[in-house]
C-alpha cells in the first residue's frame, strides 16, 4: 500500500518559473510532513516541513501548502533556479513512530 502518492514523476521548469509538486497521503495518523531534496549520489536533505495545524509554511523561495481535509500537501518553489535541479521527496510521519514514509519522488529540472 503506497501511503504517500507524489506527482508529477518529473518536471521541467524554466529558470525563474514556479515549480509545483503535489502529494496525497492516506494514513490519517501522519502529523508531520517534511520535504526532502536529493542530489545525485547524495542522501536526502530536509528542505522544509509542516505540521497540520497550519495551512501554509514559507521559507525563502520554498512554500508548503497543506489541505488537511483533502489529505494533500504541495511544495511550491518560486523563482526556480538551475541549482534547484534535484529529486524532491515528500514524506509523512506519525507521532511517536519515527518512521518517515516517502513518496516516489519528483525529478525537477530547471532549464536556463
Amino acid at each position: 500500500q503506497q501511503q504517500v502518492k507524489q506527482s508529477p514523476q518529473s518536471l521541467i521548469v524554466q529558470k525563474g518559473g514556479i515549480s509545483i509538486i503535489n502529494c496525497a497521503y492516506e494514513n490519517t495518523a501522519f502529523d508531520y510532513f517534511p520535504w526532502y531534496q536529493q542530489f545525485p549520489g547524495k542522501g536526502p536533505a530536509l528542505l522544509i516541513a509542516i505540521r497540520p495545524d497550519v495551512s501554509e509554511k514559507k521559507e525563502g523561495r520554498f512554500t508548503i501548502s497543506f489541505n488537511k481535509s483533502a489529505k494533500q500537501f504541495s511544495l511550491h518553489i518560486m523563482d526556480s533556479q538551475p541549482g534547484d535541479s534535484a529529486t524532491y521527496f515528500c514524506a509523512g510521519e506519525g507521532a511517536g513512530s519515527y518512521q518517515l514514509t516517502f513518496g516516489k519522488g519528483t525529478k525537477l529540472s530547471v532549464i536556463p
Partner: protein
C-alpha cells in the same frame, strides 16, 4: 561538523554472500535509522535505534536482514545470503531524540550502493 558517514560507498557482491554496511551517525545523535532506496523510488524504512536497542524493526523485509548498534553510536546493517533483489542504495540517518511528542530532523548519509550479481 561532520555529517553522517557510511562505508563503503559502493559494494558489489555475489548472490548468496554476506555483507556488512556501516554507519557513523552525527556525534551526539541518539536516534539512528536505516532506509533502503531502490532505483526510482523513495527511501523505505527498515529499522530505528534509540541508543543501543532496536526500537522499531518493522521495516526489515525478512530474517536475512539484521542490524546492530552495540555502543549506541556506530551501526552495522548485516545482510545474509544476499539476493539480486537486495540491490539498492542503503541509507542511514541520525537525529537527536526528543521523545514521542516531538519531531527531529533526520540527517541522511550519502548511502551505500549495494549491487548483488
Amino acid at each position: 561538523g561532520a555529517g553522517v558517514s557510511q562505508t563503503p560507498s559502493n559494494k558489489v557482491t555475489e548472490k548468496g554472500k554476506y555483507v556488512e554496511l556501516r554507519c557513523d551517525p552525527i556525534s551526539g545523535h541518539t536516534a539512528l535509522y536505516w532506509y533502503r532506496q531502490s532505483l526510482g523510488q523513495g527511501p523505505e524504512f527498515l529499522i530505528y535505534f534509540q541508543g543501543t536497542g532496536a526500537a522499531d524493526d518493522s521495516g526489515l523485509p525478512n530474517d536475512r536482514f539484521f542490524a546492530v548498534r552495540p555502543e549506541g553510536s556506530v551501526s552495522t546493517l548485516k545482510i545474509q545470503r544476499t539476493e539480486r533483489g537486495d540491490s539498492a542504495v542503503y541509507l542511514c540517518a541520525s537525529s537527536l531524540y526528543v521523545g514521542a511528542s516531538g519531531y527531529n530532523e533526520q540527517f541522511f548519509g550519502p548511502g551505500t550502493r549495494l549491487t548483488v550479481l
